[in-house]
Each structure stands twice: as structure tokens, then as C-alpha cells.
């Protein structure tokens, strides 16, 4: 049984990005990069499924425009068996990354392909679904609980105020939501072992762009606010302002 986990290298959530010189992307200077936080839940789940089955191989796949292997090394240190690094792809055009991934994943023949439910840079939530459709596989996105039994996977998928219970056959695509599990930390032994694990590197094929970023802008400025007062005495004035000035009540 092969379990594939797709990983994206993204700015840390504490980063304060600035617009780069091209006006269409952020300046990478001074930004700390991490494995996309949601991908860590996917990774942990793959490792747990392998451990429970007592057999199998977990393969990490990373499409990165810079061909940076550091996220895959971290994943190998957490327990992933081998990595595939594809140099190329796009930060914001998820359809391009999905096409590239579909090409890499197809010959792998994974039982379950796992993703994070969205990357915290592009926030598009589209790659898992497009990969599933491209490979002709069923999918469940935003999963908070999953179980593999025989050749079927049952998932709880988070929706507004509820969860959908999704049942599907393998092979399939699952994208992970926070809450699915607690991702492990890499042990010192794992970090040492990761240095010897293989990473296969290849260049991405040319893929036709679906979208173009015309311009990047800072968020709209907020009008200056004010301190209404101190302590509970300010409560009545605040309610008056919300009703009469801001008119939101």
C-alpha cells in the first residue's frame, strides 16, 4: 500500500509579507518558510494509517518553484519513506500545480492521496479536487476524521455547523482539516535517518496557465478607530455608537 502526501512550502503564519519588486508576489526576503500547516495533518494521518496497517510506504510529493527540498527533508524526518521533488509550478495558480501533481501521482498508484485542505499562501482549496478529477478518483475535502477499512474510506467532512459522513472506495483523495490528528514532532533519530532517505528530483513539464495575477495589493486600509473609554462605564457609550454612528445594530 502506497500513501502519497502532497506538501507545499509556504510562509509561516506569523510572517508579515511585503509586496515584491514585480508587484505580483511577495518579497521572500526575511520570510520563514514551513510545511503548509494543513499538510502536516495529512502527513500525520498517512503515517498513522501505515503504522496501523503494519506495512506500506509513505511518499511525500512537493511541487516547488525554487526546487527547495527542505520541506521534504522535514517530512522524511517525521517518518515519510521517500520524497519526490518537482521543480516548477505556481504560487497562486492551483490548477497548474494540480496538473503537475496528477502527472507525478498517476504512475505511483497510491491507495490514498492526502493533502492539506488548503495552502495558507494561496488559500484556494482547489488542488486536491482537481487532482482527484484528473485521476478519475473520488474525493473528500476538509476531513476531520477518517478510517480505512478494507478498500473503503469513511470520512467526516466539515461543513457549516455540521459534518458530512462520506463513504468512498480506494483509491481516493482526502484533504485534511485541523483537528484530524496531532502532528508529531521529528525525533533526533528521525532527523538523522532523513539524511539518508531518497529524494527523487525532476523538472515540472510545461503546463498552460489558467489564471494570471495582474497585481498584488495590501489589504484596504481601515479607517482610524478610537478608544471609547475605560472599564464598564464605557459600555453604554459603545452601544450608542454602534447603534447611532456605525448603524450595525
Amino acid at each position: 500500500m502506497i500513501l502519497a502526501v502532497c506538501l507545499k512550502r509556504v510562509p509561516d503564519t506569523n510572517a508579515r509579507p511585503a509586496i515584491g519588486s514585480d508587484g505580483r508576489s511577495i518579497n521572500p526576503q526575511g520570510i520563514d518558510y514551513v510545511i503548509n500547516p494543513y499538510d502536516e495533518y495529512a502527513l500525520e494521518e498517512a503515517l498513522k494509517i501505515k503504522e496501523k496497517a503494519g506495512a506500506g510506504e509513505v511518499v511525500g510529493v512537493c511541487v516547488d518553484p525554487d526546487g527547495n527540498e527542505s520541506m521534504l527533508r522535514k517530512a522524511l524526518a517525521m517518518g515519510v519513506d521517500r520524497g519526490i521533488l518537482v521543480k516548477g509550478g505556481s504560487t497562486f495558480d492551483g490548477a497548474v500545480n494540480a496538473e503537475i501533481l496528477a502527472g507525478v501521482l498517476k504512475p505511483l498508484g497510491a491507495t490514498i492521496i492526502l493533502f492539506g485542505k488548503q495552502a495558507v499562501d494561496s488559500d484556494s482549496s482547489q488542488v486536491p479536487t482537481i487532482v482527484a478529477e484528473r485521476l478519475g478518483l473520488p474525493r473528500a475535502n476538509v476531513v476531520v476524521k477518517m478510517e480505512l477499512q478494507g478498500n473503503r474510506v469513511t470520512c467526516r467532512r466539515q461543513i457549516e455547523g455540521a459534518e458530512e459522513v462520506v463513504d468512498m472506495p480506494t483509491p481516493c483523495v482526502v484533504s485534511a482539516q485541523k483537528g484530524l490528528n496531532e502532528p508529531r514532532y521529528a525525533s533526533l533519530k528521525g532527523i538523522m535517518a532523513a539524511k539518508k532517505k531518497p529524494i527523487e528530483t525532476k523538472d515540472a513539464p510545461a503546463v498552460e496557465a489558467r489564471i494570471e495575477v495582474l497585481k498584488m495589493e495590501p489589504p484596504p486600509p481601515r479607517p482610524a478607530g478610537r478608544i471609547v473609554g475605560k472599564g464598564k462605564e464605557a459600555a453604554a457609550e459603545l452601544v450608542r455608537l454602534l447603534r447611532d454612528e456605525a448603524k450595525v445594530l
Binding site: 503564519t13 506569523n14 510572517a15 508579515r16 509579507p17 500547516p37 490548477a95 495558507v120 499562501d121 494561496s122 488559500d123 484556494s124 482549496s125 482547489q126 479536487t129 482537481i130 482527484a132 473520488p138 474525493r139 473528500a140 475535502n141 466539515q158 457549516e160 459534518e163 458530512e164 459522513v165 462520506v166 463513504d167 468512498m168 472506495p169 485541523k178 498552460e208 496557465a209 489558467r210 489564471i211 494570471e212 495575477v213 495582474l214 498584488m216 489589504p219 484596504p220 481601515r222 479607517p223 478607530g225 478610537r226 478608544i227 471609547v228 473609554g229 475605560k230 472599564g231 464598564k232 459600555a235 453604554a236 459603545l238 452601544v239 455608537l241 454602534l242 456605525a246 450595525v248 445594530l249
Partner: protein, 322 residues
């Protein structure tokens, strides 16, 4: 000729979602709006789409579509897109919309702009404005291939009710084999007990670690109950296990744009501010006058949440329920 836009109008249990009608309203403002309804016994909902501005409504009615079908709904919408010849496809950026839009994009080889907060036409070309990095930046997106597919952030686009209640209705006549529907939604299990959903709420009351204990969240819940608001929590609160992740607002939680956002004892880490600073009015209550949350707040009260919040709850009760 005006820009033709197909809008998927989401329904659950025979009720259309307001965010779907917001998408119809925006489509009618930009061009000619056609709607598509997918479900079981949903034809009567065409009138709702009509009032929001749809001139025509496609209906895909199938008993297998009573609950969401990831593969089935995508094929129905792709067929409607083909039949309508629309240049763009809109839908709400809900759990369903975020799952469906990329599937339609894959079937039609087109691109998606997710969670859009602004849409405009340059000639006949659609340009979408959308947040990235959870709202720390925005990008303007143009489309290179296929119909332009956009999911629209709930609560951002104004709802129109001026359209006619009798749009033209056409049965999609979708034929789909059982074998093509492999991902099956068996049931829906409620988790939030009928409470207001964060991403669609017009008022949100969020509390942070500054409250000190899980028990203290009663303060937040009492205030929210008086306002009919949804409740949120900061990442620190969720990571401490005090509240479930479904309540988390911020970069690894939900990005929200309510009319009124009240932050209680939330310091305002960048990943939290990113997720809520597009709210129309922000109220911050914090005992630290230098807390970053005050930088984005419309109104602030410096003070102890345990004194200020009960007083505020009482004031709201007087004003709203007298």
C-alpha cells in the same frame, strides 16, 4: 452583448443559501445572470433565484442529489455551463462551493479564483479581487483559459430582491450512471446545535486566551446570545483545547467579514488580524491599551473583560429587547 454569468445556487434541505443569492445578485449587476439549482425536488426554489436577478434557471433534479454529491453536482454544473454558454461561473465560497468550483474547473479545463471580495469587468474580461495569505495581501486575478470560475465570499456582496419571481426554468436532463458517483455523502451530522455559522454571520463575538479559562467563555456566549451572533475563538484558545477548531478565526481557522466583530481579550496576533480585519466594524475589549487589536478596531474599550463584557451584554439587552 452583456457578459453572461451562470450562478450555482446552493440549497440544503430545500432552502437556498443566502450567500448563493448574493452571488446571483452580483452576477445580475455585472451582466446577464442565469442560475443552476441542483438537488432533489428543488424546482420551486427557482423563484428565489429569480428575485435575486436570474432571468433563467437550470434545474438538475435527481433523488441521488438529496445530499451533496461531489462528483454528481460537478457534472450537473458543468453541463449547465456548457448549455448556457456562459463566460463566467459564480458560486458562494461555502463548504460546498469550495469543493464544487475546482471540480467544475477540472471538467471544463478552466481556472478558479476563490473567496473573491470584488469582481469587475474590463470589456468582456472578468477581473477578480481576492485575499491571499488569509488577507495579509490581495491579488487581482485575470483568467487565461475556459470560463472564469469564482467563489464569492459570503456577506460581502449585497443581496438584491428586485428581480422577477418567475424566471424561465429548464430541466438540465442530466444522465449520470450510479458508477460515476463513488464519493457518497451518507448523512449529515450536526455539530454546532443550530448555532449561527461563523463565515455567514453578520455579528461575531470572539474571545481570546486573555479570558484565562474555558469556563470564562460563558461571558462570550451570553453576549453572543443577546446579539444573535456567532461565536469565535483565537488560535491560542483552540490550541489549548478550550474550544473546538470550528470556532477558530484567523489564518489556520476561518476568515470572516461580518458587519460587527467583537473581540474580547484577544491580543491581535498577525494571523488573527488577517482573518478578521475585513469586518465592517470591529470592537476590541482588552485590558492592555497597547494590544495590537486596537490598531484595527473601530471602537475600543480598555478594561477587564470580566467587568466590561457583562455591562455590555446588559446594555445591548436594554437597547435590543426593550
Amino acid at each position: 452583448m452583456s457578459h453572461s454569468i451562470l450562478v450555482f445556487v446552493e440549497q440544503r434541505e430545500g432552502k437556498v443559501r443566502k450567500a448563493g443569492l448574493e452571488a446571483v445578485s452580483e452576477a445580475a449587476r455585472l451582466g446577464e445572470a442565469t442560475a443552476v439549482l441542483v438537488g432533489s425536488g428543488v424546482g420551486s426554489l427557482a423563484a428565489d433565484a429569480g428575485r435575486a436577478g436570474a432571468k433563467k434557471v437550470f434545474v438538475a433534479d435527481d433523488p441521488r442529489f438529496k445530499l451533496y454529491s461531489p462528483e454528481g453536482y460537478a457534472r450537473a454544473v458543468a453541463l449547465a455551463l456548457q448549455k448556457s454558454g456562459a463566460k463566467s461561473l459564480f458560486m458562494a465560497a461555502t463548504a460546498m462551493g469550495k469543493d464544487l468550483a475546482p471540480a467544475v474547473a477540472a471538467l471544463t479545463e478552466s481556472g478558479v479564483a476563490a473567496d473573491c471580495t470584488g469582481l469587475s469587468l474590463e470589456g468582456d474580461r472578468l477581473v477578480a479581487r481576492r485575499p491571499v495569505y488569509a488577507g495579509k495581501m490581495y491579488i487581482q486575478v485575470g483568467f487565461k483559459k475556459g470560463p472564469a470560475i469564482c467563489t464569492l465570499r459570503p456577506n460581502v456582496f449585497a443581496l438584491s430582491k428586485d428581480g422577477g419571481a418567475s424566471p424561465a426554468v429548464e430541466d438540465l436532463k442530466l444522465t449520470i450512471a450510479d458508477g460515476d458517483l463513488r464519493s457518497l455523502v451518507k448523512e449529515i451530522v450536526a455539530t454546532a446545535g443550530g448555532k449561527v455559522e461563523l463565515t455567514e454571520a453578520s455579528i461575531i463575538v470572539t474571545a481570546g486566551r486573555g479570558l484565562g479559562s474555558p469556563e470564562a467563555f460563558k461571558l462570550r456566549d451570553d453576549l453572543a446570545a443577546v446579539l444573535g451572533a456567532a461565536v469565535g475563538a483565537s488560535r491560542a484558545v483552540v490550541d489549548n483545547g478550550w474550544r473546538p477548531h470550528s470556532e477558530q478565526v484567523g489564518q489556520t481557522g476561518k476568515t470572516v467579514s461580518p458587519n460587527l466583530y467583537i473581540a474580547i481579550a484577544v491580543s491581535g496576533a498577525i494571523q488573527h488580524l488577517a482573518g478578521m480585519s475585513s469586518s465592517k466594524v470591529i470592537v476590541a475589549i482588552n485590558k492592555d491599551p497597547d494590544a495590537p487589536i486596537f490598531k484595527v478596531a473601530t471602537y475600543g474599550i480598555v478594561g477587564d473583560a470580566f467587568e466590561v463584557v457583562p455591562a455590555l451584554t446588559e446594555e445591548f439587552r436594554k437597547v435590543l429587547h426593550h
